[in-house]
Every structure is written in structure tokens, then in C-alpha cells.
């Protein structure tokens, strides 16, 4: 490729990049300006200011009502402007009819896409649509009947609370299984956001979380941490941390099975995003109590494999390199005599004169 062609290429690339940048930047700035106008909007503004913003909001709703997923933030800002505007009573039937029509179409689609339904429902809800409850019930019904699953979780919670130390592993597994089953789709019907927030499901998940947390604290009692310990969320108790640090030197060596149970409990809470409310010092206590005291055999194997392979490779390569090239046919074909397609002959080249010459560079 010649210099002129490179320049052509570079100029083309720069021009195209600049054009694309301007297009993206213009779209981005227009959106940012619209959002700023919507967030600053007040119904008390004088008409000359207010009416263009309302008209823009109406236009945005017109564009986005068929697919608000394109820009949910802008759509929500537009509906908030429209709802507060004095002209809402005139415009609301039109907006409602558009949103309802789109929602009906989305609800009748096969297969259902919750990602497209949710923004439209949110817009209807934000616009305080009178009959929103009917849509809510329909969407909740889409998740299927989960009464039996809720009962299974309830049963597993009771089992964990009532079981002694012998059956606790089984109880933890049961709870993990039933809790996960509650969230998986039934007959291709996923647990949507509205169904997940029904009092029944929220309640049973709270029960399950509390049961696991109670169990964790019960295990930590073994390590000397009171069952009702409260150490605050952001300021850890220094004395307690030091005490835990000392404890960590000795605990968990005699009863390694507790470590597995603690890990299983925390993993369960983590899977269901129920770990956030735990006291930080309790999390640290779990980390300390559940830490390894030995490296598992698989770890030792992997470590040895890595170190041996790399060390052996280095030693072998160094010895071979020091020994120099193996004796080869001095008439071996090289780049110089095979096909000097475009080799720059100005290069400094040291040709080998015999098999005994070793590398210098």
C-alpha cells in the first residue's frame, strides 16, 4: 500500500467517523435537551413556555407509545409532563387508547415478551389510568398458579426450623430447591415483576430469608457470637473484629461440616438477592468461620501442574537456546533463497556459513 493510498484511507475513515459522530451526538443532545425540558416543566409556566414542552411530550408519546422500550426514560418523562399538564383531560383519552391498544397487542402475542409489556404497563400506571388493576391482574395471572410452590417453600422453611443437626443438610437442600423452583417458569410462564411482588410471594421469600439468617446465626453461636448480636451496619465494632480475628485462628478445624453449611446458606441468600440486609460483621464472621484451613487436593494438583510445567519448560528452553541451533543442512532453504517476494535487501543479514555457528542476537 502506498503512502497516497494510506492517506486516502485515513481521510475516508476520519470523514466517516466525524459524520457518524455528529449524527450520534446530535441525537444524544436532542434527547438530553428534551429530558431537561421535561424534568424542569411546571404547569405554572406561562403558555409560551409551557405549550411547546407539552406538545413535545405529546409527540414523544406518539412516537414511543408503540414501543416505549426504545427509550423508557424519555417515555416516562413525557407521560409525567402530560399528566401534570392542564390539557391532560383532553389528551388523556388519546394517550390511553394508544397505550391500551399496544398493551393488548403485546399481551396477545405468542410468545409473550415481558420486556416489551413492562414499559407500557409502567406508563399506564404512571398516568394513573383508572382501570390499571384489571391489567395488573391479567399480568399476574400470566405467571401461572404458584400456590403449590409457595406451600413447598413454606414446608421447607418449617423443616429447617424444626430439624436438628442431623437433618439440617437435607433441609437446606430442600429449601434451596423449593425457593429456586418458585422463581422458575411454569409451563413457559415466567414469574413476572408484578407476580413477584404479590404479598404471597414477597411474604414467603421473607420467611425463607429469615429462616436462613436465623440458621446462620445459630451456627455462628458455635463460634461464640450471640444469636441476637447487632453491631450496626456501617461502623464495625473494633473489639469484636479483633476477637473474631483471634477466634479465626482456632475455629472450624474440628467441625469442617459447619463451613459447608454456612457456605450453602450464604450462597442461597446471594442467589435470591437476600444478602444485603445482613449485618456486615456477621458477613465477616461467616468469612472467617468458613475459610479454608487446608488447600484441597485438586488445588494442590493444579498448583503443582502449573509450576512444574512452566519451570520445566523454562529450563528446557534455556538449555536448548544456550546449546544453539541443531546441525542442519547448510543448504536448507531460507527466506533468502526460497522466494524473496518483497524482501528489503538493505537489511543487515548474517548468513550462516556452517552448522557450528551459534546465534549472536
Amino acid at each position: 500500500m502506498k503512502s497516497k493510498q494510506i492517506m486516502n484511507f485515513a481521510m475516508m475513515a476520519i470523514i466517516i467517523a466525524v459524520i457518524m459522530f455528529i449524527i450520534f451526538d446530535a441525537a444524544f443532545r436532542a434527547r438530553a435537551n428534551t429530558l431537561t425540558a421535561f424534568s424542569n416543566y411546571s404547569p405554572q409556566w406561562e403558555d409560551a413556555l409551557r405549550l411547546p414542552v407539552e406538545q413535545r411530550a405529546f409527540d414523544v408519546m406518539g412516537q414511543l407509545s408503540s414501543d416505549p422500550q426504545q427509550d423508557p426514560e424519555l417515555a416516562m418523562a413525557a407521560i409525567n409532563v402530560l399528566r401534570r399538564s392542564p390539557t391532560w383531560s383532553e389528551r388523556s383519552p388519546h394517550v390511553y387508547s394508544q397505550l391500551r391498544a399496544v398493551l393488548e397487542i403485546r399481551l396477545s402475542e405468542k410468545p409473550l415478551s415481558l420486556e416489551t409489556i413492562r414499559p407500557i404497563y409502567n406508563l399506564l400506571e404512571a398516568s394513573e389510568y383508572a382501570d390499571i388493576a384489571s391489567y395488573r391482574d391479567r399480568i399476574i395471572a400470566l405467571a401461572g398458579d404458584r400456590t403449590a410452590l409457595i406451600a413447598a417453600v413454606q414446608e421447607a422453611v418449617v423443616q429447617l426450623q424444626m430439624t436438628g443437626e442431623d437433618g439440617v443438610d437435607e433441609a437446606l437442600k430442600n429449601l434451596q430447591r423449593s425457593w429456586s423452583a418458585l422463581r422458575v417458569p411454569i409451563d413457559d410462564k415466567p414469574l413476572n415483576w408484578l407476580a413477584a411482588n404479590t404479598p404471597e410471594i414477597v411474604g414467603i421469600e421473607l420467611q425463607a430469608r429469615n429462616a436462613v439468617e436465623r440458621y446462620i446465626r445459630q451456627v455462628l453461636v458455635t463460634f461464640g457470637i450471640p444469636q441476637d448480636a447487632q453491631y450496626g451496619k456501617s461502623i464495625p465494632d473494633q473489639a469484636m473484629i479483633e476477637w473474631l480475628d483471634n477466634q479465626a485462628q482456632i475455629v472450624n478445624t474440628s467441625r469442617p461440616q459447619l463451613r459447608q453449611r454456612l457456605r450453602a446458606s450464604v450462597t442461597m441468600l446471594r442467589m435470591h438477592n437476600a444478602e444485603e440486609n445482613m449485618d456486615p460483621v456477621i458477613i465477616m464472621a461467616i468469612n472467617l468461620a468458613s475459610r479454608h484451613h487446608i488447600v484441597p487436593w485438586s488445588g494442590i494438583l493444579i498448583g503443582l501442574l502449573t509450576i512444574i510445567m512452566l519451570s520445566f519448560g523454562i529450563a528446557y528452553a534455556a538449555v536448548r537456546l544456550r546449546r544453539g541451533p541443531t546441525p542442519v543442512d547448510v543448504n536448507a532453504e531460507t527466506m533468502e533463497n526460497v522466494e524473496p517476494i518483497d524482501l528489503d535487501t538493505d537489511a543487515e543479514t548474517r548468513s550462516r556459513s556452517s552448522a557450528s555457528i551459534t546465534d549472536v542476537g
Partner: protein, 464 residues
């Protein structure tokens, strides 16, 4: 080709410069292989990494030119591949500069803290204790680039000397800190975390996850500096054993990387009072080690000194990588346009300084740059392998390398270069694009590249 081409004075300096490049590039990654990922990492080192490094060094040595010129000589219309790699090296250079300035800034602040016998910034509740903080990020960048450009003026011999000094310094520091961490409670947990994490069983070897992850680690460590490898290769004589040098460099660097992974794992698991406040398990490896050193209960001046050593060591590796990346951009410009090094290097360093000054406004290292770089790098690797395959010179290249090497490259090498690397790159590109393509700027960049390439090809056709 430059009329006067600087040469390596000895083999060890070149090997250390290559090792430093790999170690430095490791430090711009957010995650490292653990458990079974180490096995896949080792396998891919042999299957993917060593052949790639040998190819880059070998082509540099044979063609005695930088990457873009080597591509041009290798096959028609292929020079663009080299220039894409140069662009990637330029962006990687900015990332490495940013990262090095952060580490060196921490090291400087820690020295201040050690002199004043005050707690370091990484000490828990350091704000309340008024930890000294210089806030001189941009000044650090300026000093760093000034140092780098002075060392780059005279080319290979000075690069080798500087790299040797920095890599030895960095390795000593990392080994010292790793040994100190090994003596702390929780060290066994760190070892287990690195070698056998709970959720990472051997069965995972049969899933694509660890393979893709390890390939990504290797790509970021080695392929970003492919231009540097070719430039370094061109500073050898044609009769040099670049195969052996490539193999040895990759293996030594991998051992160094393993020690770095170990120190990061220890940093994330060693127990100390600040563990809750910092959420140690999710803290980034180098920072996690810093947090441990700041909070294990040593006297303030000793902690600060250790932190300074740690960040200075990491900064040393990054400086070697920076030298290599600037060389990767410098050498094509020098070779193609016959401009003197003394003009190109300061120009480049100034450009990087201003870009860093603009990007430095952001709090964190821009992740989009890493994502974009990774994709572009996979693309470049694929292109380079295709160039080698298309040129049908691989056979001749192999024969040439074999003639001067203690190692013998067999047909498997050709198979890997011509088939396995393109295939792996395609898989990575698909995985990467599945997760990242929604970002419009990356798509724009790719579209720009494609359109520009098509137009250029057309222009070439018309001219022809």
C-alpha cells in the same frame, strides 16, 4: 526499513523486555484465571500464545521491519492489518499510561505517608485520619512519559537496559510482598481461592466458559502488543533464534503472571480489620493487596513503605509495557515515513499526555476502552493469521526459523497459525460481540473500519 536499525546488545535484555511487556499488560486486566481456568490458561499458552509470539518475533526478524511493513511485504493489500494493530497499541498505550500513573501516584503518596509516619489512604477510615494525598495524577503522567521518551530515543539497546532494571526491581518487590502475605492468617484461603475456588470444579473444563476466559486473558496480555513484538523481532539479526527466544519469553512471563495471580488472590483473602469496609473479595487485585498491607496492624511508616514498594513494583512492569507499546507505534512511523525517532517519540508522548489529561477526568478507567480494545485485538489477531495464511509464506517462514533455531517448528505449528488462531479469534469475536455490540460507538468504529477498507480497496483497484 530504517537505514540504521538499532540492535539488541544481548539476548537476555530482549527476553526481559518481552517478559516485562506481558507482565505489564496483565495489570490492565480486571480479572485473572483461577482454579480450572489455570489449566485452560496453561493449555492455551502452548496452543495459542507461543505460536503467536513466535510468528510475530519471527516475521519481524525475517522482514527486518515493523508490523505494518512486514504485513505489506507478506501479502498484497495487507498493510492495513498492521496499521489497525498500531491503532490498538495506541489505545492500549493510553490505558497503560493511566494505570501506571495511578500506581505510581499511590506509591508516591505512600512514601509521603511513610516519611510523615501517617496512615496510608488505603487504611480503614483514612479520611478521618487525614492520610496524605498529593493529587498529582497528571504530573505523574508527565514525568512518566518524559522518562519513557528519553529512554526510547536510542532504541533497542536502551530499551533492553531499562527493561532489565525495571523488571528486576518489580519482580523483587512482588516476591517480597507475596512472601509477606503468605505469612498472614488467611493465606491458605488465598491459595485455595486461586487454585480451587468453591464454584469452580474440574467439570467446568467441558464448558466453554473457562476456555473463552483464558483466551481473553492471553489476548489482552500478548496480542495488544503484537506490534511491539514484531518491532522487537526486527531488532534481532535474521540468523537469530527467535523461536527459542519467543518460547522462553512466554514461559518466563507466565511464571511471573502466576506469581502475580497468587499475590492478588492472597490480597483478596488475607484477613484484616478493614475487610468488611473494603468488601475485600470484590476489591480489584492490586488494590486488595494494598488494603491488606495498610490494615494488617503494622506501624504506619512500615505499612506505607510496603505499599510504596508494591505499587512501585507494579508501576515498573507497566513502564516496561509502555516502552514496548510506544515502540509498537513508533517503529511503523519511522519505517514507513522515514521520520527520525527523536521526532516521533516526543510527538507520540505529547499526544498520549493530552489524551490522558482528557480521559483522566473520569473517575475509573474507562471500561469501554478495554472492551473496544479487546474486540479490535481479536479482529487484528484474526487478520494477522489470515495474512500469514493467505501469503502462503508460512512454510517459508517456518523453514527459515527452523534453519537458525534450536527448536523445530513442525506442521502442527502451521496448523495452529493458519487454522486454530483464526478459529479461536472468530469464537472470541462472537462471544464478545454478543455481549457488547449494543454499544453504538463500537459498532460505529467497526462500520467505519469496514467502509474505509472497502473504499481503499476500490481506490487501489482503480489505480491498478
Amino acid at each position: 526499513m530504517q537505514p540504521f536499525r538499532p540492535r539488541w546488545t544481548d539476548r537476555s535484555g530482549a527476553i526481559i523486555a518481552i517478559v516485562g511487556l506481558g507482565l505489564g499488560m496483565t495489570l490492565i486486566q480486571q480479572q485473572w484465571p483461577v482454579g480450572v481456568q489455570l489449566i485452560t490458561w496453561l493449555i492455551l499458552l502452548c496452543v495459542f500464545c507461543i505460536p503467536f509470539v513466535v510468528l510475530e518475533l519471527g516475521t519481524g526478524s525475517i522482514f527486518q521491519d515493523s508490523l505494518s511493513e512486514s504485513c505489506r511485504k507478506s501479502a498484497k493489500h495487507s498493510e492495513i492489518v498492521g496499521w489497525i494493530a498500531v491503532a490498538v497499541a495506541l489505545v492500549a498505550m493510553i490505558l497503560v499510561t493511566n494505570q501506571a500513573s495511578v500506581f505510581l501516584g499511590f506509591a508516591y503518596d505512600s512514601v509521603l505517608a511513610a516519611i510523615a509516619n501517617q496512615p496510608n489512604q488505603l487504611t480503614v477510615h483514612a479520611d478521618a485520619m487525614l492520610a496524605p494525598e498529593s493529587k498529582g495524577g497528571l504530573l505523574v503522567v508527565a514525568i512518566l512519559l518524559a522518562l519513557v521518551q528519553v529512554r526510547l530515543w536510542r532504541g533497542a539497546p536502551v530499551i533492553a537496559r531499562t527493561s532489565t532494571l525495571l523488571v528486576i526491581m518489580g519482580t523483587t518487590g512482588v516476591l517480597l510482598i507475596t512472601a509477606l502475605l503468605m505469612l498472614r492468617p488467611g493465606a491458605i484461603n488465598g491459595l485455595s481461592y486461586l487454585l480451587a475456588p468453591e464454584n469452580n470444579k474440574l467439570d467446568a473444563l467441558w464448558t466453554p466458559g473457562p476456555w473463552v476466559f483464558s483466551a481473553g486473558v492471553i489476548i489482552v496480555s500478548w496480542a495488544m502488543g503484537s506490534g511491539a513484538l514484531t518491532a522487537y523481532g526486527s531488532y534481532f539479526n535474521r540468523s537469530s533464534d527467535t523461536t527459542g527466544i519467543g518460547v522462553l519469553s512466554v514461559l518466563i512471563c507466565s511464571l511471573g503472571q502466576f506469581i502475580l495471580f497468587l499475590s492478588f488472590a492472597l490480597g483478596q483473602q488475607v484477613i484484616h480489620p478493614g475487610q468488611v469496609a473494603f468488601d475485600q473479595e470484590v476489591l480489584w487485585g492490586p488494590m486488595a493487596v494494598g488494603a491488606v498491607l495498610a490494615n494488617v496492624g503494622w506501624p504506619s511508616w512500615w505499612s506505607a513503605l510496603m505499599i510504596a514498594i508494591w505499587f512501585l513494583s507494579l508501576g515498573s512492569f507497566l513502564m516496561v509495557a509502555l516502552l514496548a507499546l510506544i515502540e509498537a507505534v513508533t517503529s511503523p512511523l519511522v519505517d514507513k515515513f522515514r521520520i527520525g525517532r527523536e521526532r516521533v517519540v516526543p510527538g507520540l508522548c505529547l499526544t498520549v499526555f493530552f489524551v490522558c489529561a482528557i480521559i483522566g477526568q473520569e473517575e475509573a478507567t474507562p471500561s469501554w476502552a478495554i472492551d473496544g480494545l479487546f474486540g479490535a485485538m481479536v479482529f487484528t489477531t484474526l487478520c494477522q493469521a489470515i495474512v500469514a495464511w493467505r501469503a502462503m509464506k508460512l512454510d517459508a517462514i517456518t523453514r527459515h526459523l527452523n534453519a537458525y533455531s534450536a527448536f523445530r517448528l513442525h506442521y502442527t505449528y502451521r496448523f495452529i497459525i493458519a487454522l486454530a488462531i483464526p478459529l479461536l479469534s472468530c469464537v472470541l469475536l462472537v462471544f464478545w460481540s454478543m455481549g457488547k455490540m449494543e454499544w453504538p460507538m463500537i459498532a460505529t468504529m467497526l462500520v467505519c473500519m469496514c467502509v474505509a477498507a472497502i473504499i481503499t480497496t476500490r481506490l487501489q483497484g482503480r489505480n491498478g
